[in-house]
């Protein structure tokens, strides 16, 4: 029971140290005359169907989670709930002077990034158990079946080419995995009798965790693709689209601890003689845990990276319209993430300033609203956005800085 709660809490803690992104992209098909371009972007985004951001903030910034915070979050929970965190930072260098493959339209791309992606699907009972304890389940059963969690942090460095005009690009990346954690409760419950004279914990589950103290626990390969294409809207205008694939690949971890838990453990009321003869869980707590039949196997694991897929209708930088709409959908290779639909309106307030609003539905959460603003100078772009401004169960911040020289 405590162990299950600890797994849940550890998972939440690990989530707070992780990361994803996106200002609406602006399509500019003119060739960059400055030759070199460096962009730095960072994304911090956590979303949940149910856990209040006051609780998540407490895990990020510290503080006391009071009964009101726990109760508000608990009341938002359905039987199945999701929580996810996407943190990442990327640096990308584009060289427009080089003509790769002797093609004047192919420039060089070099990029690097650090990513932390976490997700959890869990039952309401698991949340209540972790934050309230088991007293509220007296005479009841707390179910954990189907709960699962994953956390992967990794770094990448890659090289590729870009189309100087369309801005499409392709890069092949070398992946170094820093940490990996994954688990699932195929079946699990805690039953407590009304009189609290017996308590039964059943766990059929498995988990994996990267092992070792080395900085990189495993290595892999992935590719990024940014494919941009346009469709004719009328004689003068085109609609530009982007199909983005990021971190599509796998990594192999040499040593992972593979946990199997298959067992039922029961605590019954003791008799006085059991206490006097030191034959209770209070004397031998390991007996209780051993009865869960924990098995640990160390072996290698092939891990599929949480690749991102996104299709977007882009903003045309050369459009004469002050207002432009954008829309698209986003997905991750992760079963806690529901494909997210998004759309928004971009307003070009000045030649050097744009702003917009957006809405989305899906992901680790449900309905979210966001805003963005960006400034543009000849050598310098800065964008600041949030995909989640008013939601009670998540927050988002996106920063992107670009320099051209």
């Amino acid at each position: 029971m405590m162990k299950v709660a600890c797994y849940f809490v550890v998972m939440l803690i690990s989530l707070t140290s992780l990361s994803q992104s996106m200002l609406p992209l602006i399509q500019d098909t003119s060739i960059n005359s400055m030759g070199h371009e460096i962009s730095i972007s960072g994304v911090g985004d956590y979303q949940s169907t149910s856990v209040g951001k006051d609780i998540t903030r407490a895990f990020i910034y510290g503080g006391f989670i009071d009964e009101g915070m726990k109760s508000n979050s608990s009341s938002r929970h359905d039987e199945i709930n999701r929580f996810g965190i996407d943190l990442n930072a990327e640096v990308e260098y584009k060289n427009h002077n080089i003509n790769l493959f002797k093609d004047s339209l192919k420039g060089l791309v070099i990029k690097g990034g650090i990513y932390n992606f976490s997700s959890i699907i869990y039952s309401k009972d698991l949340f209540d158990m972790a934050f309230f304890g088991n007293e509220m389940f007296t005479g009841d059963t707390a179910y954990f079946t189907g709960s699962q969690f994953t956390n992967l942090s990794f770094q990448k460095i890659g090289v590729g080419w870009l189309n100087k005009k369309s801005k499409s690009s392709f890069s092949l990346n070398f992946i170094g995995v820093n940490n990996y954690l994954n688990g699932i409760f195929n079946e699990g419950y805690l039953y407590q009798s009304q009189n609290v004279d017996s308590l039964e914990l059943l766990i059929f589950g498995e988990g994996e965790r990267s092992k070792g103290s080395s900085y990189f626990k495993g290595f892999g390969m992935a590719f990024d693709m940014d494919y941009r294409f346009k469709m004719k809207k009328n004689e003068n205008d085109f609609i530009h689209f982007q199909l983005l694939l990021r971190n599509l690949g796998v990594a192999y971890l040499n040593n992972t601890d593979h946990y199997l838990a298959n067992g039922v453990s029961t605590i019954q009321s003791y008799e006085l003689n059991d206490l006097i003869n030191s034959e209770s869980i209070f004397n031998n707590p390991d007996d209780f845990l051993n009865s869960i039949s924990d098995t640990i196997i160390t072996k290698g694991s092939l891990v599929i990276l949480p690749a991102m897929f996104q299709f977007t209708k882009l903003i045309d930088n050369h459009s004469v319209h002050k207002f432009q709409g954008f829309f698209g959908f986003r997905g991750y290779l992760n079963n806690a993430y529901v494909p997210m639909l998004f759309g928004g309106l971009d307003y070009k307030a000045a030649k050097w300033f744009r702003m917009g609003i957006q809405g989305s539905y899906g992901g680790f959460s449900q309905l979210r609203y966001g805003m963005y603003a960006s400034v543009h100078f000849p050598h310098f772009d800065l964008g600041l956005a949030s995909e989640n401004l008013f939601n009670k169960t998540g927050e988002s911040i996106i920063i992107k800085l670009s320099c051209a020289f």
Binding site: V9, G62, G63, F132, G133, N134, V196, S269, E271, A404
Partner: protein, 538 residues
């Protein structure tokens, strides 16, 4: 191209400040409440039902029907016949020139006195035992040795065995060994008088008759005065089924201590009881006169204060007649030494609540010596027993009687660490009390130096069953109570210093009433722990 550096510098500073500020964070904390089953048990007097202590059938209230055996001796305890070796030998006073084949040249009876201290046995029946015979033949021809034991009879036949032994020599006699079972033999130990008749006044005497005949198929040989013909008989492992005679003036005495462990836990208070009679019953299954004397009976309580039972019966000889009949008709003689309030201070004695009782007694056999004109007799089923017996309604008035029990707090280090981290622990106890006694409780936490470092005394009361309702199915009054024992953070933080827990219960009945205890009364309780923890992550 020129890089626009001012913005990069600003952002570098901002990122640095952001990283530093994000590292400086409080721990995340939240409270949880956990419940764990603890103890469910029933305290009752059931384990005293079947050991001759409590009678729960004869009445709706308990009757004490106490019976404790103080002495139980059987025939084998009265005397012991040690392993004994007797020998009969023959050596001619003059040499015989030639003994022809088949010639009996020795035939004599000898009497042997058995060494049995303090007893003069005339007749015994052997249940188990044997004789190891060793025979020596010193002549140069084989011979037949016939050994007979007059008075040793089984099924009407006297014990007799003939052995063939090979030829030997004076210096190196031939040796033969044989074992004869004595199981079931009756042995007349009176011997014979000069006339050859049974010696009526004889005792502890065993006779052997030895005859030696040269081998009829052998050759004639001479016998010299140096030749020694000998038979050794080792009577061993003798177990007696019946004995007759005079068994001496043996004394069985002892000063024994017996404990009432529950009363070790009394630390204060007192009780009032109705009159409690105590009898010492002596059963004599032997045909031997005895006298019995209770020399001392006293008990010591928790203070410690010792109270002796004072009575004219203490220190005075009580004569116990022999049993009557014999064998299957044997009827033990019974003698009762009864202590009550009329002849002793018995109630005061018991109200002292002594945990250690000291009882001295002396039982003397044949107190008038060997001049009663009759034999002592002991049969296989003869036993001499002393029993302590008492029978009275279990009724008690408890005036703040406080009992104390100590439990070693040898919890695992992991559990102690988790409890120390807890904000609060509450032991939730639900009780059903069928005893007409109320109880209040106290818990003391004792450290490794034996010092009380914490105490919980504000624990609720377990109500007497007299305040409850009648359960017609169990025919018991029952009262349900709930108590919560709050173990605060100041106690929990010292839990690693605690070596043992002392539980104290103060028991009270209604004032001025000696309360009968209902048959099958019990105290049922179930409990669980509620642990409030402050969880923290860095």
């Amino acid at each position: 191209m020129k890089v626009v550096t001012p913005f990069l510098k600003i952002f570098t500073v901002l990122i640095f400040l952001g990283v530093v500020s994000s590292c400086k964070k409080d721990s995340t904390r939240w409270e949880t409440e956990w419940v764990v089953p603890f103890v469910t048990d029933t305290l009752s007097l059931y384990n005293l039902h079947n050991d001759s202590t409590l009678d729960n059938f004869s009445s709706s209230n308990y009757l004490v029907d106490l019976e404790r055996e103080l002495l139980d001796v059987s025939l084998s305890d009265f005397f012991f016949i040690p392993d004994t070796t007797i020998s009969q030998s023959f050596s001619p006073t003059i040499g015989i020139g030639s003994v022809p084949p088949g010639f009996t040249f020795y035939n004599e009876v000898e009497a042997h006195e058995l060494s049995i201290s303090d007893a003069q046995l005339k007749k015994i029946i052997v249940s188990e035992g044997e004789i190891d015979l060793t025979i020596y033949n010193p002549i140069a021809t084989s011979a037949y040795y016939t050994i007979q034991m007059p008075g040793v009879i089984k099924d009407g036949a006297t014990l007799e065995h003939t052995f063939f032994i090979n030829a030997g020599s004076t210096n190196d006699p031939a040796v033969a060994n044989e074992q004869i079972s004595l199981d079931g033999y009756t042995i007349d130990l009176r011997g014979e008088d000069i006339s050859g008749s049974v010696n009526i006044s004889g005792f502890n005497t065993l006779q052997t008759a030895l005859s030696i005949m040269s081998d009829p198929d052998g050759q004639a040989v001479g016998i010299s005065t140096s030749d020694i013909f000998e038979v050794e008989a080792k009577i061993q492992n003798l177990s007696i089924a019946y004995a007759q005679g005079y068994f001496g003036e043996q004394v069985f005495s002892d000063t024994s201590f017996f404990e009432i462990p529950a009363l070790h836990q009394v630390v204060s208070g007192n009780i009032d009881l109705d009159e409690v009679p105590v009898n010492i019953e002596i059963s004599n299954g032997t045909k031997i006169p005895f006298s019995a004397n209770i020399t001392v009976l006293e008990n010591t309580n928790y203070i410690p204060e010792t109270v002796s039972l004072s009575s004219s019966l203490i220190g005075s000889q009580q004569l116990i007649s022999p049993a009557t009949g014999s064998w299957s008709t044997l009827a033990p003689s019974n003698q009762l030494i009864a202590f009550n309030n009329a002849n002793s201070n018995m109630t005061n004695y018991l109200e002292n609540l002594g945990h250690t009782h000291k009882l001295g007694f002396e039982v003397r056999m044949n107190p008038f010596g060997n001049n009663t004109g009759s034999y002592n007799e002991i049969f296989p089923n003869s036993r001499l027993k002393l029993k302590l017996k008492s029978e009275f309604p279990l009724s008690i008035q408890s005036n703040g009687l406080t009992i104390s029990d100590t439990i070693a707090a040898n919890f695992s280090a992991q559990i102690v660490d988790e409890l120390i981290a807890a904000n609060e622990v509450v032991l939730d106890v639900s009780v059903v009390n069928a005893f007409p006694i109320s109880g209040s409780f106290k818990v003391e936490f004792i450290d490794f130096n034996g010092q009380v470092i914490h105490e919980i005394s504000n624990i609720g009361n377990i109500q007497s069953s007299l305040l409850g309702v009648m359960d017609t199915q169990e025919n018991l009054m029952k009262m349900a109570s709930s108590i919560e024992v709050l173990v605060g953070s100041e106690i929990l933080s010292d839990l690693d210093l605690v070596n043992r827990l002392v539980l104290k219960a103060e028991l009270n009945t209604d004032s001025g009433v000696i309360q009968s205890i209902p048959s099958n009364a019990y105290l049922f309780f179930k409990s669980f722990l509620k642990v409030k923890t402050m969880n923290s992550t860095p």
